[in-house]
Structures are given as structure tokens and as C-alpha cells.
Amino acid sequence: MQSSSRATLEIVSDTSKTLFLCGGAWTLNTLTDVAIILESYHPISPITWDITNVTELDSAGVALWHLYSRTFKKKGIISEIIGANDDHLRLYNLLYSHPYKEEPLPKNPSWLYMLGRETHHTVQGIGHFLAFLGEAFVLFFYTLLHPSQIRYRSIVAHIYTTGTQALPIIAVSAFLIGVVVAYQSVVQLQKFGADIFIVDMIGISLTRELAPLITAIVVAGRSGSAFTAQIGAMKMTQEIDAMKTMGFDPFIFLVWPRVIALMIVMPLLIFFADILGILGGMVIAQAQSHLSFTEFIHRLQGTLALKHYLIGILKGPFFAFLIAMVSTYRGFQVSSNTESIGHYTTKSVVNAIFLVIACDALFSILLTELKL
């Protein structure tokens, strides 16, 4: 409660005994000054706390008295209290009903322990992810044998949300990447009067590398995070547990529809990104080196071998598989506290983008070695 009165503490001290004259309201809101005085007080002789004039007392007042009596006792000075009335005693007995035990602070573990623990967690995490993949594939083959269990409806719904709804953002990103690449190359190529090679530059770099990569990154940020959050929320509200008890396997109902949908959608999105990216390049080629659209397309037919396009499209399902698997896996790791959903969504996107880039690098090495 609000109180206008203040807490007072008068210290009368000599070598044989110290008297603490306490008065006023000893409550949470008024005790700051008294606590600051006591914090820096060095007792020299046994203390008597006279609380006869304390008009109001709450748990903060009692705690203050008990804390500093203990502190002084550690310095070898005993305290006693006089003038306590029934109310004071009742409150004291409620708060300190049994002997006070000091709770030691938990020790901070050493850096070596932390390093070991983190390493162990990482290794264990890889193991868990492999186990997740294993279980997913067991159920994949199971559904192949029982095609009636495949969730077609769910797959279609996910194709809509991860594919159709992603078109605008992919269009803008791919177009801008085309613009950027064209701008940078035009400047260099013009120095050699080799403007026409802009077509080769745009055609090959976009279809083979940039369109798949930019599509995968947008999808990881957009759909990967959504998958983790959706499954995480279901985990928190025990919906996953409910599904399991009803015999609905989460892999069949939640994981595979997302993975399959994304694997179908990704090559299509990459194709879409190819077109928009090349369009972006065409616009810049015309603006900067007066290369008309017809000339551009004519040249493109000559230089862009089918294999570049096919390699780009082929990466799609692989990227999609990685993104969908990682993000659903992270979704299942969400625990019951509210913070973990954000934590795992972040992790899922970071992991997905990393895996996509690593996978892309692997493709580059592999295809170069195969002379493709």
C-alpha cells in the first residue's frame, strides 16, 4: 500500500553496545535509504534493534532485519530485537518458519566443460537428424506400399502455399539478380567491345547457378521458417502427441506432404526464376548496350546449351529436400517453452541456407569433374 511515512533508523553506538532505533513504516517502498545505510555499516559492539516505534511492517522489513543480523553475525556481532508486537512476531514466524539455510549459487562450469558439452551436443544433433531421416524413409517406403495413406490433399495445399504464393517474391528477387549481373558484366564487356557476350553471361550464370540458389534461399527463408513454426506450434499445444495417440503418424501427415510438395514446386520455381532473371538481363542489355530483345533471344538460343538449364532445374529437388527436412526436423525439436519456437525457427533457416550452399558447392565440384 502507499504510505507517506518514511522509515527511520537512528544509530546510537559506543564500545559496549549499539542501539538501532527503528521507526516509521518499514515497508518495501520506504526501506531503500535504511538498506543503504546498513549496507555500509561496520558494527563495533552488540546490537539491539528497538522496533517499538515501527508503525508498519511488511516482508521487506522483516527480510532486511534478518539479512543484516546475519551479516553482522558473520562479523562476530550479535543482534537482539526488542519492542516487537504481536503483528511483527506473526509476520516473522510466517516468513522464517524454519531455520534459514543459505542456498549456494550454482557454479559456472569451466570452458573446457562447456566446449565438451557443445561438441557432444553437435555430434548428438547430427545423430538425431540422421535418425529423423531414417524414420522418415521407413515411413516413405511404407506409404509406397500403401499408396492410400499418401496425403494428396495436404501435398496440394502445400504446393499452393510454398509455390504459388511464393511467385511474387521470387519474381522480384530473380529479376533484380538478372539486373545486377547484367549491369556488372556490361561495364566490363564494353571495354573489350564484346557486348554481345552479355547474353552468354546472363544465360549460363543464371540458369545454372544463380536462379537455383536465389530461389532456394528465398524458399528457405519463407517456407522453411513456416514449416518449423507450424510444427513447433503443434508440438507446444500437444497436437503432435494427440496425433500420435490417434495413430496418425506425424511423418505421413506432416513431414512428407511438405517435403514432396516442396520437391515438386522447387524446379518449377527455378524455371520461373530463370525466365524472370533473363528478362532482367535483357532489359539492362537493351538499355546499356542497345541489344534488342530479338537479338538477345536469337543469341541465347545459340549459346545456352540445354545442359546448363537442366543442371539448374535438377538442383531444385535436392535443395527442396534439404530445406524441408531440416525445417520439419527443427519443428519437432521445439519444446514446451515459448522461447524455443523462435530459437528453432532461426536455427532451421540458418541450417537450411547453409546446407543449400554446401550442396551447391558439391554439385559444382561433381559436375566439373564429370566435365559437364
Binding site: M1, Q2, A63, L94, E339
Partner: protein, 251 residues
């Protein structure tokens, strides 16, 4: 008669299309344990939320600790909020903070006390609600249902409020823990001079610790008073709620 702490008069609440409260009135006095009862959807939690400034009624007067909630200024509201403690049904402990930090946060924000006095107070509150001392270092996700309720109660009691709101304090607890919780609430009321307002379904709680209550149903207050008084009322909801004549409370 002890002074009135909360007075609701002709409260009307409409949520979307639904009429929740149709001119509801009730009075809560100092130092009593008062309950808002009623079936699911009877608007008791809504009424509680209106008392703690989380929701506003469409019309009617609501007076808490002398403040008229309709014309309260933001500064007064802030003042009022420091004078009560609220225990939510699911605890609503901040999951990123340990139990100790959940409680200490209030002291840090609202007082300038030195850290070791705050530390002492946190230990006291944890002990007061019957949690073991090491619980202060645990995070909400590591606690059982009963411990969460106790930790949330400790947080509600942190600033030594005179008014305590409890939303289904015993739901999800086993019968023994429920009775212990009831006893704790009553002890705190007696010793700290609290006024307690709770929403509950628990017939044992109603029987053992509630002084007076309001029974809500059909958008109205069907009865207000002590258990004996309300049981006198002849109304199907009273019969249904207290399972009169079957295995419920005998009058």
C-alpha cells in the same frame, strides 16, 4: 462491516456478438476470500480480467481499491497495478527467466533496494509458498504444474500486495496439492491481511476457504453471499453447480 475493496455495479460486457454480462453487480470486502463461480463460458474469467484492467466493460461501474476503472488515468492505473498480485491459470511465468529472476524482476523495476536484500526477499517468497530453495535457479520449463503455480504465487506476492487475484489456482493440481494450496492461501490471508479474489471450479476449495462468492450464469449474477445463503436460492444453476442432493455439497 469491513470496507469495500472492489465494487462492480451494472457491468455490461459484449464480446463480438455475444452478451457476456448483463448488468452484473457484486461487492468484495476487505480481508475476505471471494470467489467468482459459474459454468464454462459464464463470464467469470472475463469479469476478473475487467477487474485487473486487461479488458473493459461496455458499461457499468467498476471500482477497485478506490479507483474508478472507467476514468482511471494511466499513472493511477500504474499505481493500482502495484497494489495487487495476479496469479494466472497457467502461471504465465516468463519462460526466459528463472523462477528467482521472475520474482526479482519486480523488485528491480519498482524499488532501489540493494541486490543482497532483493536476493533475501526472493528467497523468502520462494520459501513462503513452499518451494525448495534450489527452485529459484530453475526455469519454468523445468517445473511441474504444482511448482509453476507456487512460483507464480510467489511472484504475485512479491510486492506484498493487499489484493490478490487468482485465476483457477487449483486447476491441474492433484487433490492433496490443491488442499495444500488452499491452506496456504488462507494462511496468507490471515497473516498478511490479504483480500483474495479467485475464479474457481473446485467444490472443495469453495467449501473450505471461500468466505463469500458470486455465482454467475445466464449472463447475470444468480446469487451472491456465503455458501449457506446461496444454497437457499431455488434456481436450476445453483442445483446444477453444487450438485445438490447427489454427491456434491449437502446444505
Amino acid at each position: 462491516m469491513s470496507p469495500i475493496i472492489i465494487k462492480a455495479h451494472n457491468i455490461v460486457t459484449v464480446l463480438g456478438e455475444n452478451l457476456i454480462h448483463d448488468h452484473i453487480s457484486c461487492t468484495i470486502r476487505k480481508n475476505e476470500i471471494y470467489a467468482l463461480l459459474g459454468g464454462s463460458g459464464s463470464g467469470k474469467s472475463t469479469l476478473l480480467r475487467e477487474m485487473i484492467l486487461l479488458q473493459r466493460p461496455q458499461s457499468g461501474q467498476l471500482n477497485v481499491l478506490g479507483f474508478d476503472l472507467k476514468s482511471i488515468t494511466p499513472i493511477e492505473a500504474q499505481n493500482l497495478r502495484r497494489q495487487w498480485g495476479v496469479l494466472f491459470q497457467s502461471g504465465a511465468l516468463y519462460s526466459s527467466l528463472s523462477v528467482g529472476e521472475n520474482i526479482a524482476m519486480l523488485y528491480r523495476e519498482y524499488t532501489d533496494l540493494p541486490p543482497n536484500l532483493i536476493n533475501e526477499l526472493v528467497a523468502l517468497k520462494i520459501d513462503l509458498v513452499g518451494l525448495p530453495p534450489h527452485a529459484r535457479h530453475l526455469y519454468p520449463s523445468q517445473l511441474s504444474g504444482g511448482m509453476i503455480k507456487r512460483a507464480a504465487l510467489a511472484r504475485a506476492l512479491a510486492l506484498d500486495p493487499k489484493l490478490l487475484f487468482l485465476d483457477e489456482p487449483t486447476s491441474g493440481l492433484d487433490p492433496l496439492s490443491s488442499r495444500q494450496f488452499d491452506t496456504l492461501i488462507r494462511q496468507l490471508r490471515d497473516l498478511l491481511g490479504l483480500t483474495v479474489v479467485m475464479v474457481t471450479h473446485d467444490l472443495d476449495t469453495i467449501h473450505h476457504i471461500i468466505d463469500r462468492f458470486a455465482l454467475l450464469g445466464e449472463n447475470k449474477v444468480i446469487g451472491e453471499g456465503t455458501l449457506e445463503e446461496v444454497l437457499q436460492i431455488d434456481h436450476p444453476i445453483v442445483d446444477y453447480f453444487f450438485q445438490k442432493g447427489s454427491y456434491g455439497i449437502q446444505s
